[in-house]
Symmetry: C2
Subunit: 428 residues, 2 copies
């Protein structure tokens, strides 16, 4: 079952789809060459927004959860990609430790852990699941509603290496974005591969690094396939050190928002788009989805800023702020908004699903903590493109396009991690 | 739909399956490390024989056809593996030329070509299909019963490179085992990757090289998982320069066959196996399936040798001959023999099918030209093993075991190709 695609939207999106399909060999070759020079994130999930006239990634989540939402049919793909990933990073690996999030009371999150354990076990590793949460003091047996069982064990450290009881892993897979900060137990590990690296964690990562890298890639990609990069890249401004408690700074922010709205309007006019523009105001730091507000009218800004944004985040009033062109979500499943999420393992798209929101407007940003969505796995046979089919009517071709955008976002994250790597030697 | 497995056969095969499953992490690690040192064949198909008490590969076909028999569900796996293969060999590749067999009047073979073209197109290459057969003088449009169309074009050579009209490929994929000899047009190509290499072709390859490499690997693998390597390796003897027209040589051959039968009997006794042993007599050279006879009684040998074997092959009476322990086929689909065939792309098992013979006995060797078989694709969800399931009752676990044996055979072919590479430098 695949969501009904809004194909009535003739216009740039179908042209884009056509371009992407026609350029498939060039695109794949381009990615191959890029991945020779740049190391893909170990795993990534990317929320894609399809506005009907433009397409954009919302993020590149380097600690993806919700792997259990992928359909069983794509599991072999994930396993094969996991084999390729492990082979590259640590071929001599025997033991993999998954470090879980602290969210271990959620059946959804536990199902995600079970799925990850299964994938890496199938790829041929001994897999154990550990927690660095002080709450997990002893081995905690988990039983899922479907009958699967596993243990969450307290992570311990000895001789500069971490592990769980009688288990010394060569590779440690973080499934925890460390949004409360990097704990000492994970720092300076002795000859253990920690993936993703600590500078990918939530408190260190800055959103603008990803968006800047993505913008550069979108330009090069646009040139490659002959499209205006705006069709795949939302415009972005940043304002550093904004004091949201100071009247003057709020005015600056409102002006910047207004300027962005004007820029979007010009673009909409150029492309004959009738939609009402909006802007997404985001904190440079902070987890995806928190500290985010959508603005259609700069006058709203001051009144809602403190209430919606900083109250939620519970952070300082002085912030680096991003002002990003909002991208509509135009896919629908019946009347509900369907937001595609694409999953990658290493450089391979292995599947995805739709977050189907029953009661959302088109402008809603992703809410990772929102429990009202229904996951709807991409049908696995639809992952392969169907050349020769008219644009806009083939689900596989649409998914291929989503996969391309998700890979661009994942590549941007790879550039970002290279640029922000504290251990990288400076090259001149 | 999966063939009914003969699970009543308690005994070594179920122990073997259990060992293989229990050793999964060790096995996968071993393969990872092997593939770091040895280049996998580009693609391989392996016929596996399951005698209920032992398991063995019959061959490692380096020019696999019948790709169309794989189920559509496994196509994404084949595409992902093809991406990995291309990335390794020639990341800058744009164009791939598939050189077809001369068998271009068979709808089956043409469907195979269409499937290969699709796989590599999906992997992001421009793919054309060429023929080096003198029969193909101009571009020949093909229309398959399912409506798919493609062209077979005459291969031309200029400046030491081959291609088809206005198409200069960087990689050439042979889907032709060159059983009539290596044609000059394929020799000494200038900066083009020819895969598999010419020394993998039928007239150059010697079966014993594969079997010798496999024997060594079976010993090491047996040690790894703690099994007698005989359980996965048929015994083998060779007699070189046998003149099958000379009475004396026939006696020697009959004696060697008799000796092999005695060795098998001792093994059967050791393992408590009640089956009647048989021997497969094969020509060292020659395509898989031709020049092969099964012998249960050495007295039959002289009488049937000329009639069945050399008449068919139409070759000289002086031959290098292999005397191999026969491995029964015990899997059944209703009453028909079901022979598993496993397909690999690069180092990945991507799928497989059963050849279901309606009217065959258990001792029949594979007959690639036999049109009475029905392909039965492995169900794609069954590719992943299910740890914890009792041995012998889980199709996925059985398939995993088949995949392991097929990978061992493919690895043996890799060793074989290294050892027989005419361009390899001698290392001391």
């Amino acid at each position: 079952m695949v969501p009904h695609l809004v194909t009535a939207l003739s216009g740039p999106i179908n042209e884009l789809e056509q371009r992407v399909l026609d350029s498939m060999p060039a695109i794949e070759r381009w990615f191959r060459l890029e991945w020779m020079e740049h190391t893909p994130p170990f795993y990534t999930s990317v929320d894609v927004r399809n506005a009907g006239f433009k397409l954009a990634p919302l993020n590149a989540n380097l600690f993806p959860s919700a792997w259990h939402n992928l359909s069983p049919e794509v599991l072999p793909l994930a396993v094969q990609a996991a084999m390729a990933a492990i082979e590259k990073i640590c071929p001599e690996a025997r033991n993999l430790l998954i470090v879980s999030d602290s969210n271990v009371h959620s059946t959804f999150y536990l199902s995600n852990l079970a799925q990850l354990q299964q994938i890496f076990h199938m790829a041929g590793l001994n897999v154990r699941i550990g927690s660095i949460s002080p709450e997990v003091k002893t081995t905690t047996p988990i039983e899922l509603p479907d009958g699967r069982t596993f243990n969450i064990e307290p992570v311990t450290r000895a001789n500069g290496r971490i592990g769980v009881a009688h288990f010394d892993p060569c590779t440690i897979l973080l499934n925890n974005d460390l949004h409360t900060g990097v704990p000492g137990i994970l720092e300076d590990l002795h000859q253990q591969h920690l993936l993703p690296p600590l500078h990918a964690s939530a408190t260190i990562r800055r959103k603008s690094n990803l968006y800047k890298a993505y913008e550069e890639l979108a330009k090069r990609f646009g040139k490659l396939i002959g499209i205006d990069p705006w069709l795949i890249n939302p415009m972005l401004e940043h304002l550093n050190g904004v004091d949201t408690a100071a009247e003057h700074d709020i005015v600056t922010l409102a002006d910047a928002t207004d300027a962005m709205l004007s820029k979007i309007k010009r673009r909409y006019k150029e492309f004959g788009i009738k939609e009402k523009p909006f802007v997404v105001v985001k904190l440079e730091h902070g987890r995806q989805g928190s500290g985010t507000m959508t603005v259609q009218d700069p006058k709203q800004l001051a009144s809602t800023l403190q209430r919606t944004m900083f109250k939620q985040s519970g952070v300082s009033s002085v912030q680096d702020i991003l002002i990003q062109e909002g991208v509509l979500t135009h896919e629908r499943m019946h009347d509900a908004v369907a937001e595609p999420v694409v999953y990658l393992m290493d450089r391979y798209v292995v599947g995805g699903f739709y977050r189907v929101h029953a009661h959302s407007g088109v402008q809603d940003d992703v809410k990772l903590t929102d429990s009202t969505y229904v996951p709807l796995a991409f049908a696995e046979t639809t992952r392969l493109p169907q050349p020769g089919t008219r644009p806009g009517v083939s689900a596989p071709n649409r998914f291929y396009m989503y996969g391309v955008i998700a890979r661009l976002a994942s590549l941007a994250a790879s550039y970002e991690l290279e640029a922000t790597d504290p251990d990288a030697e400076l090259m001149d």
